[in-house]
């Protein structure tokens, strides 16, 4: 493969979430600004070296303070724009109608739990964890809310609906990352961290682990399948029925 096609393969992945386009715009704006500053700095540096005539140094104001003020203003604008986007996605939680899904990182797999027909996640207890017996999360049978919980090894979501993810880890720190949804959040043992987003395009996307979590780190991944609401409803109904029996 030529270097051109190698470069072509390395580009931003598809953007398939509601908050993604604004993030991409900010990313591309920042990248262009950085590229321009890199070029400008080198043109001035090399230009000054190439200029033949010797020249006395100018005043501090002209070449130090004025450019610094300009750069500081530029960085401030970038910061404020970025803060607004960050605040929009992270300062508040998901809406009350958002779909609830729990994500659990375990060396070296992701598990996704839906609360089932009662709409409530049941209790999990670490001492009940038994992956070999089909209970990788340690659902407590003594808790009536657990009985109808659906546990899946792929994340199935309906397109266009906000989802509230409750991210946790059973053992070590993992990094929950979905590049195509412009999403990343560490899963920290002992904490439940909520993030929310809305997928906008149907398709199958990669869920990675981005925090070194042990020897299986590189193959700790899962699929995110974004489907139509109808497909999602029938998938969930089938899974719920299977659990009830």
């Amino acid at each position: 493969m030529s270097i051109v096609s190698a470069l072509h393969a390395a580009r931003l992945p598809v953007d398939a979430s509601a908050h993604g386009p604004a993030l991409d715009r900010q990313l591309l704006l920042s990248l262009w600004i950085v590229l321009a500053l890199f070029t400008l700095a080198h043109v001035i540096l090399l230009g000054g070296l190439a200029a033949r005539r010797h020249h006395p140094q100018k005043s501090v104001w002209q070449i130090e303070y004025l450019p610094l003020v300009a750069l500081a203003a530029l960085f401030a604008v970038l910061t404020i724009r970025a803060e607004r986007l960050w605040a929009a996605t992270r300062y508040t939680g998901a809406s009350l109608t958002a779909l609830q899904v729990e994500v659990t990182g375990v060396q070296f797999a992701w598990y996704f739990r839906y609360p089932g027909v009662d709409g409530t996640f049941g209790r999990v207890r670490p001492e009940l964890v038994a992956p070999g017996e089909g209970n990788p999360l340690g659902l407590d049978p003594a808790d009536s809310h657990s009985a109808d919980d659906v546990v899946s090894s792929q994340l199935m979501l309906p397109v266009g609906r906000e989802v509230d993810l409750a991210i946790r880890s059973q053992d070590v720190i993992h990094g929950f990352s979905v590049p195509e949804m412009r999403l990343k959040q560490n899963a920290v043992p002992g904490e439940t961290i909520h993030i929310h987003f809305t997928p906008t395009k149907t398709g199958t996307y990669a869920i990675l682990c981005t925090q070194v979590c042990g020897l299986g780190h590189y193959r700790m991944n899962a699929n995110l399948r974004v489907v139509t609401p109808e497909e999602f409803d029938s998938w969930l109904a089938a899974r719920e029925k299977a659990v009830q029996r």
């Binding site: 993030l23 010797h54 910061t79 605040a87 059973q170 720190i173 020897l215 590189y218």
Partner: protein, 586 residues
């Protein structure tokens, strides 16, 4: 070798000997660290390649290499060579002193550092091998022996090694601080101190603050591992089928480690780069025959970078589970450091601007430092934005960012220092012809290796992945696309490493056959070139040393360029001199 000569030559308390020993230690470490990085690059694109005498590289081998590469490079190369190595060799003379404040402590900190390196490397040979949790050692992975291979005795050795290193670095930094504060010669005011000394001074301040916090963190982690405490372990943590809370009701958090570690870890990168800032400033001025542009501003920005450097550790934790408001605050402090950093770049550009400099190899590497620092530094403001970090965190974009600054700019600073001070230390010049080859090959190799990593990062390639091909699911499709560009990066890395043989050859050759150096071959103005402080002659040993002006004063005379070293008495007042001795002639 008799016992006395062994003691004098090896267990010496002479700061020159200790400085050289530190540099040799760093050279050993950089060879190890580079070899590991090449093995990692090769494995990433040819996963079936078998390592001679070892066999296939398993995922745990890969992570062990990542861990040792990061640890060795950060501590034993980038902290050791610029700060302890060149600091010992050059710092005392630059302030007009013939010694460091505490010679015995100085020797002790070197030997502790050497022991720390041996302890670290010995982790390769214990059951389970070296730890696999990276140089950041996040718990619970690092707190629980069963969390992976290498996390038992290997991890203990890692902790012991870093603790020893931290103690050594703290002692050495206190020595540096006391030397600068107490042993300056007559006339060496704070404003006349060379910017290299300011770099070493600020880095030493940061070391004392940062390493003490790291030592505390290591102690706590050690207690979690062996004393049944739960500083970093939450209740009900289940690793490998075993519940890991020894003390009832104990409920710690791994986030505490992240705070303590990065409170150390971020200043650590400034410890590595601050001496490089100083060297670059002084060399650019020296070879441009000019004053440093905005000398007081340069001192202020050095201190400001040090101060801000300890206020922004949280930018490593934007997606770690901090309160999002905290991310906003750390984003602002991180952006703020871009301003003094930009001020430095502006000063470097202004110092060389239309100066018709002399392009010696040391000057080329200083200019390379500026270029690579701009390239690596500019992506800082991108990563300082939490919303963009949400996409870029732990991708190769970050790897590209800090390798351009740490691996490349910092190393260019070390090369500049080596070419510049080689004649002072050895009495011989290094070959300029080989030097120029070394510089251009290294510059091309550096950009070819690290620029494309921005692209694979933007495309979503995560760090610490042992393999890109043969991974199942949608992730496999995404990562497999990136193999061709990674192959290019691996070729570039091999090229870059090979080019360093030119440097090694230059050193070896010049030691024996280099042209004999004159007393002050670069027309330097700082005190290490003072005849009475010269490390190799002792003829003028008793002569009193006094300083009369700031460094880097060059002037035009009818007979051509001339320069006013700091030690030459002059009838003009300091301020008049500065105005008169501004530039070299048309």
């Amino acid at each position: 070798m008799t016992l006395t000569s062994l003691r004098r030559r090896v267990f010496s308390t002479d700061h020159h000997v200790i400085g050289v020993e530190y540099l040799l230690l760093a050279l050993t470490a950089v060879v190890i660290g580079t070899t590991l990085s090449l093995l990692m690059r090769i494995h990433l694109v040819w996963p079936d390649w078998q390592l001679p005498l070892h066999g296939p590289i398993l995922p745990e081998d890969y992570l062990a290499m990542v861990t040792i590469h990061g640890t060795v490079m950060l501590f034993f190369v980038l902290t050791t060579a610029p700060q302890a190595g060149f600091g010992n060799l050059i710092l005392p003379a630059q302030i007009g002193s013939r010694r460091m404040a505490f010679p015995v402590l100085n020797a002790m900190s070197f030997w502790l550092t050497a022991v720390a390196l041996v302890v670290l490397l010995s982790s390769t040979f214990v059951p389970g091998g070296s730890p696999i949790s990276g140089w950041t050692a996040y718990p619970p992975l690092s707190a629980v022996a069963s969390a992976g291979p290498g996390q038992a005795m290997g991890m203990d050795l890692w902790l012991a090694s870093i603790a020893l290193f931290g103690i050594a670095a703290t002692i050495s930094s206190i020595n540096t601080l006391v030397t600068i504060i107490k042993l300056r010669c007559d006339g060496m005011t704070w404003e006349r101190m060379p910017l290299t000394v300011w770099g070493w001074f600020t880095a030493a301040l940061l070391s004392v603050i940062a390493f003490s916090v790291l030592l505390a963190a290591i102690l706590l982690l050690f207690c979690d591992r062996h004393a049944g405490t739960s500083f970093f372990l939450p209740a009900g943590d289940l690793v490998n089928g075993t519940l890991h809370v020894a003390h009832k009701g104990a409920n710690g958090s791994p986030l505490l480690w992240l705070h303590l570690f990065w409170f150390f870890g971020h200043p650590e990168v400034y410890i590595a780069i601050l001496p490089g800032f100083g060297v670059t400033s002084m060399l650019l001025a020296n070879f441009s025959f000019r004053r440093v542009f905005g000398y007081r501003i340069m001192i202020a920005t050095t201190l400001l970078i040090g101060l801000l450097g300890i206020l922004l550790w949280g930018h490593h934790m934007f997606v770690a589970g901090l309160n999002p408001f905290a991310a906003s605050a750390f984003s602002v402090t991180t952006m703020a450091i871009a301003v003094p950093a930009s001020a430095k770049v502006l000063s470097w550009i202004a110092t060389t601007w239309r100066s018709r400099p002399s392009y010696k190899t040391a000057m080329l590497f200083s200019l390379g430092f500026v270029s690579l620092f701009i390239a690596g530094g500019l992506t800082g403001p991108i990563l300082a934005q939490p919303i963009l970090d949400e996409y870029l965190h732990n991708t190769f974009f970050v790897v590209a960012h800090f390798h351009l600054i740490m691996a490349m700019a910092a190393v260019f600073g070390l090369y500049a220092a080596t070419y510049y001070w080689f004649p002072l230390m050895t009495g011989r010049m290094m070959s300029e012809r080989l030097g120029r080859w070394h510089f251009w090959l290294t510059l091309v190799g550096a950009y070819a290796t690290f620029l494309p990593m921005h692209l694979t990062g933007l495309a979503g390639e995560p760090r610490h992945y042992a393999q890109l091909a043969g991974i199942p699911n949608a992730a496999g499709v995404m990562l497999a696309r990136l193999v061709p560009l990674n192959r290019f990066i691996t070729y570039s890395a091999l090229f870059l490493a090979t080019a360093q043989l030119v440097f090694l050859w230059n050193v070896v050759r010049s030691l024996r056959r280099g042209a004999v150096a004159t007393e002050n071959p670069w027309m330097a103005t700082t005190l290490e070139w003072h005849p009475a402080l010269h490390p190799r002659h002792s003829a003028a040993m008793g002569e009193p040393i006094a300083v009369h002006r700031q460094p880097c004063q060059y002037a035009a005379t009818p007979s051509g360029e001339t320069f006013l070293p700091q030690w030459v008495p002059d009838t003009l007042a300091d301020t008049t001199t500065e105005a008169a001795f501004d530039t070299k002639p048309e």
